[in-house]
């Protein structure tokens, strides 16, 4: 489906391009959102990536190439946006998960804490964790996308998970002190 849409979009069919956007918008937007922690910035980033795709559609050879290209451009742009942002990485109210009941509530709380802890990690570690756990990419592909050695990716993954655990534990202590 994407292959056909790609061919049609290459011939100037905007409807086909809109189909490509619908297919990959969640991937691009989520890379931006999880990395930047800002919904508006993530949407700007996603729009910039798709605009760049629209202007360079001729260079895309296949659906696999398209996915790789989109991911690579999104990662680079997210890092650029992050460096420009330099401000607080607090999550906006609209980004917090909807409250739920029972186990789902615990999951939502944990997810929120994890995202907040992730937002405080160094940019490279953060992006590596996003590519590993959001995009389900292996260390080799992550290394290729970020242009770093595979060993760096592996150690960053290990260190990133440890830091997340440490940050969550500290957060829990703060909550306990606040209550008792």
């Amino acid at each position: 489906m994407v292959e056909m849409a790609l061919r049609q979009a290459g011939r100037g069919d905007n409807q086909a391009f809109a189909e490509i956007v619908s297919e990959y918008q969640a991937m691009i937007f989520s890379i931006g959102w999880h990395f930047l922690g800002d919904r508006a910035l993530a949407e700007d980033l996603a729009q910039d990536v798709f605009l760049e795709l629209y202007q360079g559609l001729d260079a895309i050879q296949s659906a696999a190439h398209l996915k790789y290209w989109l991911r690579r451009v999104a990662v680079n742009r997210a890092i650029d946006y992050g460096r420009r942002k330099k401000s607080s990485r607090e999550l906006a109210l609209e980004e917090v998960e909807e409250p739920a009941t029972g186990d789902a509530q615990t999951d939502a709380l944990l997810s929120e804490k994890l995202r907040q802890a992730l937002a405080r990690l160094p940019e490279k570690q953060r992006m590596i964790l996003i590519l590993r756990y959001q995009e389900d990419r292996g260390p080799t592909e992550i290394a290729e996308l970020l242009k770093v050695p595979v060993s760096t990716v592996k150690s960053a993954l290990q260190r990133g998970l440890e830091e997340l655990r440490g940050k969550l534990a500290r957060k829990l202590k703060e909550v306990r002190y606040a209550f008792f």
Partner: protein
Amino acid sequence: MHFSEDDLRFALRRKDPGAGFTQRLMARINQAETNSFASSKIETRYSPLWLPLKLRAALTPVLIAGLAMAGWLGIAQYQQLQKRRSGELARRETMLALRITTAKLNHVFDRVRASRKAKSGESSYENNP
């Protein structure tokens, strides 16, 4: 608070940017296309190539008039030069002719003088033998 890799996967699951994202993007693309079309029109109108062409068209009559004037002046000057040269040549020829005539006249005078002298010598011999 402990978490597993699955918890992290769940926390980092993909999220949709929400309704209207595609429409907003397509509107932005259309806007960008309109802007680039307008700027390309402006570029065409005022492009460095186009400007000299317009200038060239405006300057062509002036250039032609200038060239015609220069040609006319050149021809006039050439004709004047030719006249001066032919005058000079005529003067030289006249001078040469005069010199030749003078030389011939001198020669004639010399001969007349010589014959007169000869005649006067004969008569004095006749008078005083």
